[in-house]
Assembly symmetry: C2
Homo-oligomer: 159 residues x 2
DNA sequence: GGTTTCGTACTCGGATAAGAGCTGTCCGAGTCGGAGAGG
DNA sequence: CCTCTCCGACTCGGACAGCTCTTATCCGAGTACGAAACC
């Protein structure tokens, strides 16, 4: 059980896009060079963020990606859900009612499985923490001057 | 990103072992029949729980598995860690310092990456919820009479 | 009848193959910018 | 000199392979029981 690498990429890209706050969209190639990532695959992951509304894309020359909404309205949960899918981490297959164990007790199965409930409680705590943190919070917790350095660095790339 | 199926199996098996509280160890075949699971693979997953000390095993005839310690001392975190591995869900690859972006700022990298910190906060909340729940809690939250039914069902299987 | 010995069957344990999902790559559709010709 | 047209290049978007990890399976090592032979 491991989180996909694209989540780290997506969060760093969102943070960078928020910091530089460029007038023009930022193409994939720039971000891939910035972080030394495989351009094609990064592109694929950014597309998933566009489908979720986290980013917006512009085709053609001078095109690229920009934030789909303001940084304080992009939660980490949004990014994780967009990149890892909306499915629950824990999937209850109702094994309690399979096999010999569950033949004759239909009334009890009206309530959800206790094991699933317990694990989902942890998963909800995880999702809640992710939903409480926004890209704006990431910007605020960064060392001072980080945004300025990002802008300068990006200006050096474009020029 | 999905949790392995073995976690559900392991938790249900621990709960069942705690309920029936048999004098003899319970072999894999019984548990596999109980939940209608592939016996060989269930066996492999139970071995992982033995390596973690959650279960203890007895070889030979009349052998099998039993709980390695009391139910109130087996947390859901123990089971998940045993079956999914001890690695963090989110792995920070330090992409901030890779590529063009991180060449000239060595002082800043002394502090951990803000993105990683934010995601790890959520992961810690998840682990904490898992660690706060024990197998004994699962037993307590089950409908009354569940333990008795499990014992009767197991007696019918053995006899 | 009691005891010893042997064989058998059962269980765990780890090493060995298929399948799914993540990672990585490619090419096509669409679009903007600029060069060049014409007025 | 200004405007219109056309060409070219750049970017996103989705479809196509390689690889790691999960799932699934098998066979070997060890052990307790039970039967049989022996005392």
């Amino acid at each position: 059980m491991r989180m996909g690498e694209g989540v780290e990429w997506g969060l760093h890209c969102c943070l960078t896009l928020a910091w530089i706050d460029a007038d023009r969209p930022v193409p994939t190639a720039r971000l891939a060079t910035w972080f030394d990532l495989p351009p094609a695959y990064l592109h694929k992951r950014l597309q998933a963020l566009v489908r979720a509304g986290v980013l917006s894309s512009t085709p053609g020359p001078r095109g690229g990606f920009r934030l789909g909404r303001r940084p304080e309205q992009i939660t980490l949960m949004d990014v994780v859900t967009a990149l890892e899918g909306p499915d629950d981490v824990f999937r209850c297959t109702e094994i309690r009612r399979r096999g010999e164990g569950g033949g004759a007790l239909p009334r009890e199965f009206a309530r959800p499985c206790g094991v699933a409930t317990a694990v989902r409680r942890a998963e909800l705590a995880w999702r809640r923490e992710l939903a409480d943190q926004t890209v704006a919070d990431l910007m605020a917790s960064a060392p001072p001057g980080a945004a300025e350095r990002a802008r300068r660095h990006y200006a050096r790339m474009t020029g």
